[in-house]
């Protein structure tokens, strides 16, 4: 999918000492400027593997060997005698600036600061380490090239602007791709209004074989900016992915490009001819993509859209094969909840289930292991359902049992038996009569019990 090493033209994610990640592009003969962390010749990175840390020395790079975590010695020090606002650092900002300008190495500056610090020896060892780290983040001229894995790119975008990703956090993306059964050679439809994070995931997991049709809301090819950092090779993506929009994905749409030209063929100039040919090629490829979509039998449908999801599912279900997975992500639980409520009444969707992703990261320094203090609040909500072909003649065991019970007791039939089933009722866990195992993982994500949900006659059989 991408080159194993950094190339001219690569889009990099560069992590600077203070933890920020910046997007940078490797240009021929270019200089990459990291502000106070220094600047260097981009060519220095060409041919390097991803993931290494470098120190900048005179615009050239020196690989920094990986540092291991140091055990911190336990001491009796506490902050008992350390007070806020005390004058502890005689070294002034101006003096530090002069030191920096003189070209002194970051570690030397930090050493000087520690020597001058009045209370440094009172600090606990943990606190001393924190102090050194903080100073390093300030003065050291170094950086790390983040490898553009799907996880890292998603994480970078999520931290940068989670709204643009529609809250698709790496854990949510991972679950979506697995639930949709993305595999090399598979054929998928995606609606990605999440800056292309879903598209990036699908392309990565197709590995250059299979098919992806995306449907967007603009009349030019969608940009999907997240795919930029993935550094996919063009020739790998082009044959796999095509895009339509909500107009061109309509079966009754006629592209104006296909209308016969107004002028008679004889009058066309040569310059116009090549333009017309180009237009024709675009139109042909569009018509091909449409035909491919309408021919259907896709292996999965993934939706992360700002538009009403049921209208999208209704429109695209005919093109999705039996047993295909439908995965919808939304930042809002209400959106997927309403969708689940609609889908569970329809016999062509099996087991629609809503779940929420939950993840927490830990700091694992020796003797200081704990969940990180700041964390992301939400990675959104996922609805998963399986597209099935209905058989309106099939009836549920529960319905029969309830009919029988009703006869024996001589009471009126249970709600599940009457024609107008209340949506939540027959499959609500409260009235489910099968012994219920505790909800485990996605298996029990929702309550729709197929034997309870009744078919209400459907066009699906026609497609069998």
């Amino acid at each position: 999918m991408r080159e194993d090493t950094i190339q001219v033209g690569s889009s990099l994610l560069i992590k600077v000492p203070n933890g920020d990640v910046r997007p940078m592009k490797v240009e021929q003969n270019g200089t990459i400027n990291l502000g106070k962390f220094g600047a260097f010749y981009a060519s220095e990175l060409v041919g390097q593997p991803y993931g290494l840390t470098y120190e900048i020395v005179d615009k050239r790079l020196k690989v920094v060997p990986p540092r291991s975590i140091q055990e911190v010695e336990e001491t009796d020090a506490t902050n008992e005698l350390i007070n806020d606002g005390q004058f502890v650092q005689p070294l002034t900002i101006e003096e530090i600036e002069t030191l920096k300008k003189s070209g002194l190495h970051a570690s030397e500056i930090i050493k000087k600061q520690i020597e001058q610090h009045a209370n440094y020896q009172l600090k606990t060892e943990y606190s001393k380490e924190k102090y050194k780290k903080r100073k390093e983040a300030k003065y050291s001229k170094s950086f790390t090239v983040v490898e553009p894995t799907l996880f890292n790119v998603c994480d970078y975008w999520f931290k940068k602007d989670q709204n643009r990703l529609r809250d698709i956090r790496p854990d949510a993306l991972s679950q979506m791709l697995n639930l949709a059964n993305i595999r090399p050679g598979g054929r998928y439809i995606a609606v990605d209004d999440a800056s292309g994070v879903v598209v990036a995931g699908i392309l990565e997991r197709l590995g250059g074989s299979g098919r992806l049709i995306t449907i967007c809301d603009i009349d030019s090819p969608p940009a999907y900016p997240v795919t930029v950092q993935m550094n996919f090779r063009k020739e790998v993506v082009a044959p796999v992915m095509s895009s339509l929009n909500w107009a061109t994905a309509d079966e009754d749409y006629t592209p104006s490009m296909l209308m016969p030209p107004a002028e008679a063929p004889g009058q066309i100039k040569d310059s116009q001819k090549s333009r017309l040919n180009k237009r024709k090629a675009v139109a042909n490829s569009l018509m091909q993509t449409r035909e491919e979509l309408f021919a259907g039998e896709f292996d999965g449908l993934l939706i992360a859209s700002e538009y009403e999801p049921f209208s999208i599912i209704e429109k695209l279900t005919p093109y999705v094969a039996g047993s295909a997975n439908i995965v919808v992500h939304s930042p809002f639980v209400q959106i997927v909840t309403d969708l689940q409520n609609k889908l569970r009444d329809l016999p062509q969707y099996l087991g629609p289930a809503v779940s929420e992703v939950w993840t927490r990261q830990y700091q694992v320094l020796p003797g200081r292991t704990h969940p990180t203090m700041n964390t992301s609040g939400s990675g959104g909500f996922i609805l998963h359902a399986i597209r099935v072909y209905d058989d309106p003649k099939a009836s549920s065991v529960v319905a029969h049992r309830q009919k029988k019970k009703a006869r024996l007791e001589g009471t009126s039939p249970a709600p599940a038996d009457s024609g107008d089933v209340t949506p939540s009722n027959p499959d609500s866990p409260m009235v489910r009569d099968t012994p219920e195992t505790p909800a485990l993982d996605s298996s029990a994500v929702s309550n729709a019990d197929t034997s309870g949900a009744e078919a209400s006659g459907d066009v699906e059989l026609g497609s069998l």
């Binding site: 991803y50 290494l52 490898e147 250059g208 639980v333 409520n341 694992v364 072909y389 909800a439």
Partner: protein, 407 residues
């Protein structure tokens, strides 16, 4: 892996979805029958039917859905030989480890193969998975399963204790996943197996914090970097469509109505007893008056519960509201039916048309609260010798020697 054909064929593995909680694997064998409490099905009737079809039982009672297997369905349906990994952890580990088509991966131990199937799907025919299981019977079972599922060209299964004997490949794989009781004993072996020309990754899956701490120091000593740890879970939501919650003005109105009824009844009772007293004559007046008044009061109280029902039967639904409110209150958030209290309230206000339901969701009461801690780390590519510190250089030389011997 599994059949990619549109229709089910003899010998295919299908996933039979009976209910959400009853999902079973089934190998289609002409001549066999599937018997369950959801009906009777002949395998031969499933042959030629498209995947994803709903199938009615032969006796007309019950139905099933026959689905194409996916690693996710397999996780729900597989025969458990051990504790297994589920979607949340599998998905997270696969993406953190950067497992993708063409990846070369090590997994130890194989267990019930839940993770193996997911990885095999994602790496595809151009990737490879080396899977190790130290329990011989389980290893054999898993090997048979991989062959039956057409994964044997992608997965190499070895019966071996990797903590003692290491892995069968050196300098080869992109990622290592360790689901072992003592992963720290396998960390050095894992380092040998990982390739050295690019960043590689490892994940250790351990349920206990004590294991995490030992693993972290082993990873650190072995020279792994970016050590971090995650916990990830799925919180399944239960969805219900219910009538909109009643405003308290409704409750207030009902309470007032009830009070008014009680007052009317009390006045009626008083009138009745007064009339009775008149009829009883003067003899009783002095001695029994108090007693009788008290009795009437008591009766009014007990009647309070019985009476509304008779009034309801008489065609005054509004009257039932007050008495039923306490019971109805419990039902509102849970049941999908419109509650009697609401129905009568609407009638009372003259808005006969039912209110649109609202959809609510909350996390199921019993959910998985912990699976395991996922400890991750990276092994950076070998630094070009000229730039490396002497110590690293020696190690690099050692690695290249190892790589040379393996090739």
């Amino acid at each position: 892996m599994w059949s990619a054909a549109r229709e089910i064929a003899d010998g295919d593995l299908v996933i039979v979805w009976l209910t959400r909680d009853v999902v079973q694997p089934l190998v289609i064998t002409r001549g066999k029958e599937l018997n369950s409490k959801y009906g009777v099905y002949r395998h031969s009737d499933l042959i030629g039917v498209p995947y994803g079809s709903k199938i009615g039982s032969r006796n007309g009672k019950g139905f099933i859905h026959v689905l194409r297997p996916t690693p996710e369905l397999w996780t729900l349906a597989l025969p458990h030989r051990t504790q297994i990994l589920y979607l949340a952890d599998i998905a997270f580990v696969v993406s953190w480890l950067n497992i993708k088509p063409g990846s070369r991966v090590i997994e130890a131990g194989t267990g019930s193969g839940s993770f193996s199937h997911s990885v095999a799907r994602t790496i595809g025919p151009s990737g490879h998975l080396w899977s190790y299981e130290f329990h011989e019977a389980r290893a054999n079972k898993a090997r048979e399963e991989f062959v039956r599922h057409g994964m044997d060209n992608v997965v190499t299964l070895t019966h071996r204790n990797v903590c003692k004997d290491g892995f069968t490949v050196e300098g080869t794989v992109d990622a290592v996943f360790l689901d072992l009781p003592a992963p720290w004993d396998a960390v050095e072996h894992a380092k040998k197996a990982l390739r050295k020309d690019r960043t590689t990754r490892i994940c250790c899956f351990s349920p206990c914090m004590e294991q995490v701490l030992r693993t972290v120091s082993a990873l650190n000593e072995a020279g792994f970097t970016d050590i971090t740890m995650y916990e990830t879970l799925i919180r399944p939501h239960q969805v219900d469509a219910v009538p909109p919650l009643s405003p308290i003005s409704d409750v207030s109105a009902k309470l007032r109505q009830a009070e008014q009824r009680r007052e009317e009844k009390r006045l009626r009772q008083i009138a009745i007893s007064r009339a009775a007293r008149h009829a009883a004559g003067k003899r009783k007046r002095d001695g029994d008056a108090d007693e009788e008044a008290e009795g009437a009061g008591k009766k009014a109280k007990t009647d309070d519960e019985g009476e509304p029902r008779s009034e309801e039967l008489a065609g005054e639904p509004a009257a039932s509201a007050g008495a039923e409110t306490p019971a109805a209150k419990d039902e509102v958030p849970t049941s999908g039916q419109s509650t009697p209290a609401q129905g009568s309230g609407e009638t009372d206000l003259g808005t006969a048309e039912p209110l649109a339901k609202i959809t609510l969701s909350k996390v199921f009461p019993d959910v998985r609260g912990h699976t395991s801690y996922l400890t991750f780390a990276c092994l950076l590519p070998k630094i070009p010798a000229a730039e490396a510190a002497p110590e690293v250089e020696a190690e690099a030389a050692e690695d290249s020697a190892a790589a040379a011997s393996s090739s």
